[in-house]
Symmetry: C2
Subunit: 282 residues, 2 copies
């Protein structure tokens, strides 16, 4: 798989890493970075993530065989639809947003019954607390999972093409429905962010000298961008609330075990946590 | 500060690291490891954390100028009191338990009005998910904070000696009352453990392939020993419950902001979390 021209809309950590990996692996002749701020575009150019840049989306996607939208959640659907009007017919379009249901529905509805482009959503489960193309890495997707979310049968070949694209960057891929994606990621990604942020917010700064590596690890992702995460959480609201309620129940079980002095129950809860954590490894 | 003989009761990660650091820095002629399982003692010998070992506490502390009790929380007070009967008069005794109030009270009461030893509790805020002397490191305390908890005025010089001891291992030190220690650590150490374990426990294992670095970081400490943590949490029960209730309030604020679609409030909470996390660094 080798592309003549790839357009990346939004050149932050994810978009920058897509570009950098494409270029380092010699997978694209031309990678154009499309963004709203010239400063971000300059950084993307400087680190070698793109071969050219523009702030004009319509012009940027012209002749692109592949368009990857890596903007903040709120902007993704509208940018996909705009790109779809200006890129070549049958171009492949995907995105990297952390939520899928609303985006895929809005795009499906906007593209209509006979779309002129092939859009399939995706979500690379990769990232970090650092943001911006300055933090881009050519191994950000290495061995990471990308969830690809086709929304109807007819998308089979396009979904396979999107899977191949992410695999060419070193990732593993899996297909789910957009709804299943959001249900699962609410638990494995969005809830941890709420928990980390809540724990950090509940800790007065003057007590930080008493924080060890445990507090540091548990709150690490709270350093992520509040603006990006507000959009993710808001977009996946019902699933996040459900997962939050489930967590609150487990925390209440811990509380009851403590208050009751029920050592066996406390131990049981801790053992379940350890079992699940150990199953992940690292 | 150089010791002729130091006795370490409990040669796991912490005790082993105390011994290893003492020996590598040439701070003690003799370091005796005292434990209940010959397998642990063998590991401590093998890694060079101790110069000799015994399962006989009374004999082990004989002639020791310094006794450091690094056992699981439940055993600490009784072992300090036993050591106090058999070590030289005026020997310095400290411990490394993660909770202080109950231990210090039990020891103070057991030692009576004219103690024949100098006991001051301490808690090195250092550790890791790995346990056992096999994981001992000579830099475990480097630049880490050790909280030293004298329980009355007359302990000034002994507290200073305990501070010097930990400083000689590379640590920074601070003094608080045992009660203040437990109030603070309930938030900065014990609550994070509950949160990590609850999040891990609430995540079915079949969804782990969808867990990214965020879930991994946030749940990392849940891999710690359930037995040790059950003792810590149970021993600091009232403070942990208070902190848990405070966290539940912050989580409820997140939930309300989500349910109400209140973006500004959601953003405000995320920003507070980020501000506190950024203040810690790393």
């Amino acid at each position: 798989m080798r592309w003549k021209k790839v357009a990346i809309i939004g050149v932050g950590l994810i978009g920058g890493s897509v570009g950098l990996t494409l270029r380092r692996r010699g997978l694209a002749d031309e990678v154009i970075g499309i963004g709203r701020r010239s400063s971000s575009l300059r950084v993307a150019s400087r680190v070698g993530a793109v071969t050219s840049t523009t702030m004009d989306l319509a012009r940027g996607v012209r002749q692109a065989e592949l368009v990857v939208v890596c903007s903040p959640v709120e902007r993704v659907a509208a940018q996909i639809l705009e790109a779809a009007q200006h890129c070549p017919a049958q171009a492949l379009i995907t995105d990297a947003a952390s939520t899928k249901t609303n985006i895929v529905r809005a795009v499906a509805s906007g593209l209509g019954k006979t779309p002129r482009v092939r859009f399939v959503g995706s979500h690379p489960i990769a990232g970090g607390e650092k943001s911006g193309a300055g933090a881009a890495r050519d191994d950000l997707f290495a061995d990471r999972l990308v969830v690809v979310t086709p929304w109807r049968q007819s998308q089979k070949s396009a979904a396979a093409a999107v899977e191949s694209f992410w695999q060419s960057l070193g990732a593993r891929t899996v297909q789910t429905t957009p709804e299943a994606h959001d249900r699962i990621l609410a638990l494995t990604s969005h809830l941890p962010h709420v928990v980390a942020a809540a724990l950090a917010a509940a800790t007065p700064q003057d007590l930080l000298p008493y924080a060890g590596t445990g507090w540091a690890d548990t709150t690490r992702i709270a350093a992520g961008s509040p603006d990006l995460w507000e959009q993710i959480l808001a977009d996946n609201r019902p699933d996040v609330v459900k997962r939050l309620d489930r967590l609150a129940k487990v925390l209440a079980e811990f509380r009851a075990a403590l208050v009751d002095g029920d050592s066996r129950q406390l131990l049981r809860l801790l053992k379940t946590g350890k079992k699940h954590r150990d199953a992940l490894g690292n």
